[in-house]
Amino acid sequence: MNCKQVGEYISALCDGERIPRDAAEHIGGCKTCRKQLNEYAAIGSELRRLASLETETRMHVDWMQSVNKVGWWQKGLTTMRIPKLAFGVMLIAIIALSSGLVIVRARAGAATGRFLELKYKLPPTGQEDVCVMRADGSQKDNLCNFVHHGRDGLLLMNTRVTPNSGNRTQLGIRAKYIPGAGEVEVHYNDSLFKDIPETLLSLKPGEKQEIQVAGLGTIGVEGEYLDHIPPLVYHPQQTLDPNPKEFRIAAPVLVRDNEVIANAGGGSSIDTGSPDATLMLYVPSEGRYLLSAVPFEGSVQGNVHLGQIAFSLEGHDYLLLTSMPITVSEHVWVKHEPDFKASEHMVRQSEARDDQPMFLVRSLRKLQQERIEH
């Protein structure tokens, strides 16, 4: 097949449709077609951005009061989240595999929806936690689940948005605290919550509500409406374009010679101030890859383009794909440490697993320490 013949399939691929293998093979090996695909994806992203701007102009004034608020965010570093909401951005790339072609793309939900940014204040320290969910009556992406590892115990939280009533949002919250289980490994599944009674809350933007959790105390709950999906769901104040000092990763996929060797799933990690901000991507049986904003001993240079980093290492071509721009820098420096084992270096029990991929953005200095704290 030639470029002209596969044009329609590039468009279909962009929509997540299955395409013929010979078309996939052509696209996978053709720079022009890959560029075309990325341009289609960029157009889609621009349309969604345009939609979110237009939505803003028609929103009710009560909702607007909550849109432009500023930085209350303090991410709980010990929190693991199960993302239910697709990232609001786009991209990213196609990967030619022996079995065909895969598109890695974080697709937004309807950009004109109404979203609820829910803030929890957790006892005893008042640490804040956040989730973003759809709140427009949709039964998709209207859930937020997380597991919070506290100092003395484990908190399981499950929140769903139920059909609205006027300008209030009805929430169904299931919460359970397990004392003494702070370091217990939790494999998330719905059955964790099946025996926990649901507490219903009727929430108005800006209004503070509370729920009681046995053994833990009072959790504060506060909600604000958003007119769009934030580029970083768990960092709602962040824009799509990174700031000059930012280094951030969301849902990374690492490809080596056209083979996916790590797909770290949802979630994001960000560093906003370290001059030596570095991504550590741990891959089971592969060790870890360090991708740093600064050169360091044993590293090779990689090239950054929006949400992609390309580099060659140990005779292989690598491509790191994420669902958003990573840094404003054009280069990063990469090193592979095949002997690294998460179990030997990660302080947190839940991360010290050798059989699961894991990623983290921190300063290079901290990541090179013998014991690594999240």
Binding site: S11, C14, D15, I43, R49, E54, M59, A110, T112, G113
Partner: protein, 174 residues
């Protein structure tokens, strides 16, 4: 799907709260879509209200087995938009760019480029990229075969890409 059916059943029983819920949930997205399809903010408001008023007066035609409630609403809105164009006695595509009244803060290169596509291309792209409608849903909304959805989406993307490139190059020269 079950919730769509439940909401629709309540609507058919003349439950005003169901209509309010339907309107609150979907009118915004429909209006933004219609604004792009019609190229006029005022017309989009009018057609959105006509669409919902018609559904309230005659709640029929939605079949959960054929698609989602939003798909049905977008299909109904698209038909109303087509009627509006016929009443204007001019095809939308030829002069659409002249009628788009985007506010300054919502203008963008891609928005301007979109306005230069045909009405069908604008609708297809918007419903696919912004509203996330599937090919099957698009086929039902636009009343065309699924295979045609694919080829027309490609044509729409390619047209938009060509215009967009042209506008970006022009801007760069200025």
């Amino acid at each position: 799907m079950t919730d769509d059916r439940e909401l629709w059943d309540r609507l058919c029983r003349r439950d005003a709260t169901a209509f309010e819920e339907l309107y609150r949930t979907y009118s915004g997205g429909l209006q933004v879509f219609l604004r792009r399809a019609l190229g006029s903010h005022q017309a989009a408001e009018d057609v959105t209200q006509e669409t919902f008023a018609s559904i309230w007066r005659h709640p029929n035609g939605f079949d959960p087995a054929r698609g989602t409630l939003p798909s049905y609403l977008f299909g109904a809105g698209r038909k109303r938009a087509a009627e509006w164009w016929r009443q204007q006695e001019r095809p939308g595509e030829a002069n659409a760019e002249k009628t788009v009244d985007c506010k300054a803060e919502t203008r963008s290169l891609v928005g301007d480029a979109l306005a230069r596509l045909t009405a069908e291309q604008r609708s297809l792209l918007w419903l696919r990229e912004v509203e996330g409608q599937t090919y099957t849903e698009l086929a039902a909304i636009m009343e065309i075969p699924v295979g045609t959805v694919r080829s027309r989406l490609f044509a729409a993307r390619e047209a938009l890409r060509t215009i967009w490139h042209g506008e970006r190059n022009t801007e760069g020269e200025e």
